[in-house]
């Protein structure tokens, strides 16, 4: 899930933070510190995330397009300039454009808005935007909700009390609500300082950017893996099952099936499955330790040298043209498969099906599938000429039956009708030996 960092570079961000004299910071410095921390974390633990950096005041500018080069992002942070006033609406329009250009409207996206909570004045201020929300034409619609699924995280370089003194907090909450409600507003606790900004970004990291580690099992074989991006909890039915379902950290392969049989099934999300080293100590060191790594091989490098089940699985799926069905939790399944990036490179990927015992109607209940060897006759035939799929429904759909609908005169099809009558007549003649009468129902 790509991330857009939207950094407020208005003048208000240069307000100094009042501290007991030691060293003077601007709010901007705190924000940059927090973002550096986020980028460092991502570089070492979430490095596959594509992140872009935008700065905004009354105008917006894309400083770094979507990249995995976290040095470039940090570099850009260190060169921020100060501009005029805050105009959130314009910036959000910018986000909408940038994301749609790169990812289209189907890819979920995370937006991290970093601001001090002074949201502009007069026309172009967030307050003004929200007040005029309903008086707009189609061409000047407010950018939220974005056309793509969004998680909006608002990082306030201010504490909650400060924001509640004005209507800033209310406006931000409304903004979050408009974006679809998925996300959170973070504020700083206690005095504004490096430590409290670290705490705030730490919470964001824990919530959104902590890597999802799991163990992939296949009988007695297993491998520690990272699933990227982290699978999101799924709510099935708000009324009956309001608790979101989460993917288990034990992923268990239940079997293998031909690609033709699973037939490009609908999925709710797709993830890379990457083998990881069990010992993560070395990995945690983060950036700037490349010299040390050469002396002492990192855990991931060590992992590269020992045989890994993921490699075996990926290779096998690719060669055999099959996918592995994997259980993600109670009555929740997904599939593992090899996805080609290019001609030379391919990855092991996992797609999640809709939760439930029967996510793909043409396979029937997943729990009813079993090994070929246990079937009385090979369901694929001895020469692999047939397939047990799609599984036939117990009740045939109307289009698989000889239904007759006479609503339209064309549907009446007189020929068919007459044939029908004739057969009735014949039956009657033979059985009852009496002249036929035909009644409409």
């Amino acid at each position: 899930m790509p991330t857009v960092v939207l950094m407020d570079v208005s003048l208000s961000m240069t307000r100094p933070v009042s501290l007991d004299g030691i060293e003077e910071f601007q709010r901007k410095n705190l924000a940059v510190h927090g973002l550096n921390m986020l980028f460092e974390h991502m570089a070492s633990n979430y490095r596959l995330e594509f992140t872009s950096l935008m700065a905004f005041s009354s105008l917006w500018e894309l400083l770094v397009p979507f990249t995995r080069d976290y040095n470039a992002l940090q570099e850009a942070l260190s060169n921020l300039e100060d501009y005029d006033k805050t105009c959130v609406e314009a910036a959000l329009n910018g986000v909408s454009n940038v994301v749609q250009q790169e990812w289209g409207s189907a890819c979920p996206c995370q937006v991290v808005l970093v601001t001090d909570g002074s949201l502009g004045i007069g026309k172009g201020s967030l307050r003004h935007s929200l007040q005029t929300l309903k008086q707009r034409g189609d061409d000047k619609k407010f950018p939220l909700p974005f056309p793509f699924p969004t998680k909006l995280f608002i990082m306030c370089i201010a504490n909650a009390e400060e924001l509640q003194m004005t209507d800033a907090m209310d406006n931000l909450e409304e903004l979050l609500c408009l974006s679809g409600g998925d996300g959170q507003i973070f504020t700083m606790e206690g005095p504004l300082c490096m430590k409290s900004v670290q705490t705030m970004f730490g919470k964001l990291i824990d919530l959104v950017y902590s890597p999802f580690h799991a163990v992939l099992h296949c009988g007695n074989l297993s491998s520690d893996v990272q699933v990227f991006p982290r699978p999101e909890p799924v709510v099935m039915d708000e009324e009956v099952e309001p608790m979101p379902r989460t993917v288990s950290t034990d992923l268990e392969i239940v079997g293998f099936i031909e690609i033709a049989d699973i037939a490009s099934p609908p999925v709710i999300s797709r993830h890379l499955v990457l083998p990881i080293a069990v010992n993560k100590d070395v990995d945690e060191v983060g950036t700037g330790t490349t010299d040390e790594l050469e002396e002492e091989p990192s855990a991931s490098q060590m992992a590269g040298k020992s045989p890994n089940f993921c490699v075996l699985l990926h290779g096998s799926l690719k060669v055999e043209g099959m996918v592995a069905l994997v259980q993600l939790g109670p009555e929740w399944y997904g599939m593992l498969y090899s996805q080609a990036d290019s001609k030379k490179k391919s990855n092991l990927m996992m797609s999640l099906f809709d939760p439930g015992p029967e996510p793909l109607p043409w396979l029937g209940k997943i729990s009813h599938l079993g090994p070929i060897s246990e079937a009385a006759d090979n369901p694929y035939g001895e020469d692999d000429s047939k397939s047990p799929f799609p599984v036939q429904p117990q009740v045939k759909r109307s289009y698989a039956q000889n239904v007759t609908v006479w609503i339209k005169a064309s549907g009446l099809q007189c020929l068919r009708l007459l044939k029908c009558f004739l057969s009735l007549i014949k039956k009657r003649l033979t059985i009852k030996k009496c002249p036929p009468t035909v009644k409409f129902m």
Partner: protein
Amino acid sequence: MLFPDREALPSQGFHQICKMKMFSVAHKTVFVVDHCPYMAESSRQQVECDVLTKSRAQGVIPLAPVSKSLWTCAVECSMEYCRILYDVYPKDKLVNYIVSDSEFHILNSWRREDQSTHELMSALAAVGPPNPREDPECCSILHGLVAAVESLCKITELQHEKRIALMDTADRVANRGRIICLTNAKSDTHVRMLEDCIQETIIEQNKLAAGSDRLMAIQQCELVLVHIYPQGEDTLVSDRPKKEISPLLTSEVHSVRAGRHLATKLNILVQQHFDLASTTITNIPMKEEQHANTSANYDVELLHHRDAHLEFFKSGDLHMAGTSTRENGLKETVTLKWCTPRTNSIELHYCTGAYRISPTDVNSRPSSCLTNFLLNGKLDSSQFLPAERAKAQLERHTRYWPMIISQTTIFNMQAVVPLANLIVKETLTDEDVLTCQKTVYNLVDMERKNDPLPISTVGSRGKGPKRDEQYRIMWNELETLVKTHAGATDRHQRVLDCIIACRSKPPEEEDRKKRGRKREEREDRTEKNGSKETDDKSWQDSERLKGLMDKDEQESEVIKDSPDSPEPLNKKPRLTSEEIQPPERTKGPVSLLTMWSNRITAVNSRKHQEFFGRASSVNSKFELYQHLKDENGMDVHENGKATR
């Protein structure tokens, strides 16, 4: 007859996953259809039957047009509603069909097996057309409406299952429903009377439901009253949009002319009620049976869950895809042009949604051509076993699974395949055991002939291990594989026994080998860092052996042959053990005669059931009259019975 141009069609069907609140009003739909005498009146929409002018012989009187009754129109359009509903939601969107005249007739129940158009059609056929001679005073739609409310209180299988599953939070299972009433009302006042009556019945029934396990109080009821009147007459009832009668009941009135207007109305209603939308696939190439060389293009309209259009709306591509508004402006369809993707079925494509479909015009020629093609050849269904068995199989197959090709010998050998394939089975037949044994004998033969083994020389210096060492590695690996399964059944154990027995060498050969190997070992030890460990192990093993020497010779034989144990210091026990070994187990390199006789025995044994005595023999010996030992046991008793 149309049939599809095969080359031009992809082989993919349409499928659906959909999201709707589980117990929304759509969970329960009650149809109440008027069966009173006035419903026997003609709809006055004419149906031409006389279309056979060309083929008809002269002198035959032309067929007069016919006309459906109001009842027929009501039945047809309600069945269409159900057909579409069941196609798109094969489960848990339920219909209860009630017919009302001088009393009510409930044609089916909420049970899943009662949910099909076929069931309903049979029941309707039994009901027959309204009797025009019945006393109109006794007949009323009210009987049916009261029954409908009672029916909505009845718990469905899904409600029951969920209530049980949720236990403490069973109150999350809601009870909502919809009543679709097809009738010929007398006036707006009459309609209001019907509404009031339903409202009162709901309150009454909810009181009853409070004291019952099998009934649930109605939380929300939607009444859709469709007033049907013959064409060419003025309606006596006015249309009215949905309004709230009480917090429990909403009501809407549709006043519709019978015939195709009524059919269109119910088609619109089923779309509204079940979140459906329409897509028309245009330009589908199909061939005419008479002109198989040319293919013409046809359009097919499909109904499906409206989420299928979500992506279009989001990306704003809907204008590109094209929408068209038809007839009354209520019904829209998205048109998609058929394209024939040159895809092969072994590619996975990213798919965000799959939706069940129902053709709007199910028996039009293009529709049935398309659906027949999509369903073609997919009528084979087979019984499958639970996934837990699959997991168990995976577990068995992965008990011993070398990940690196160069680190395995047996999985690089064609000769081992039969055994490796069989040993992972949950149970083995006697035949399987024989096959395994034959595999082992074959390996023994290979060893005798000194055949090369596919042992990797990567990583080892020089030419790699000597041939006898190669075989030792191979036997060890085979034993490791089989040992992981030996505990499963006696037959698995017999395979292991066979390996253990076969790999033992006659002493003189063993001796010769030992001398050679000792030299190697010495070299090894000077090279290896772990020599101390090896020393310790061999010391332990030799200590163990000393202890065993006094014991059962057979056991010491087993120990001797366990994979990594060193040669015993003393040869004596083995000499004695060899005498005791059953002849068929003295395997090592066997003579041609032995192999031949083994083979013949094996073949013969397949022709008859193995004698009980031989099958459960120990060292080819079986104690007779065992039951006599057990003098006061069940056996004697049973024996006595058997002789009688």
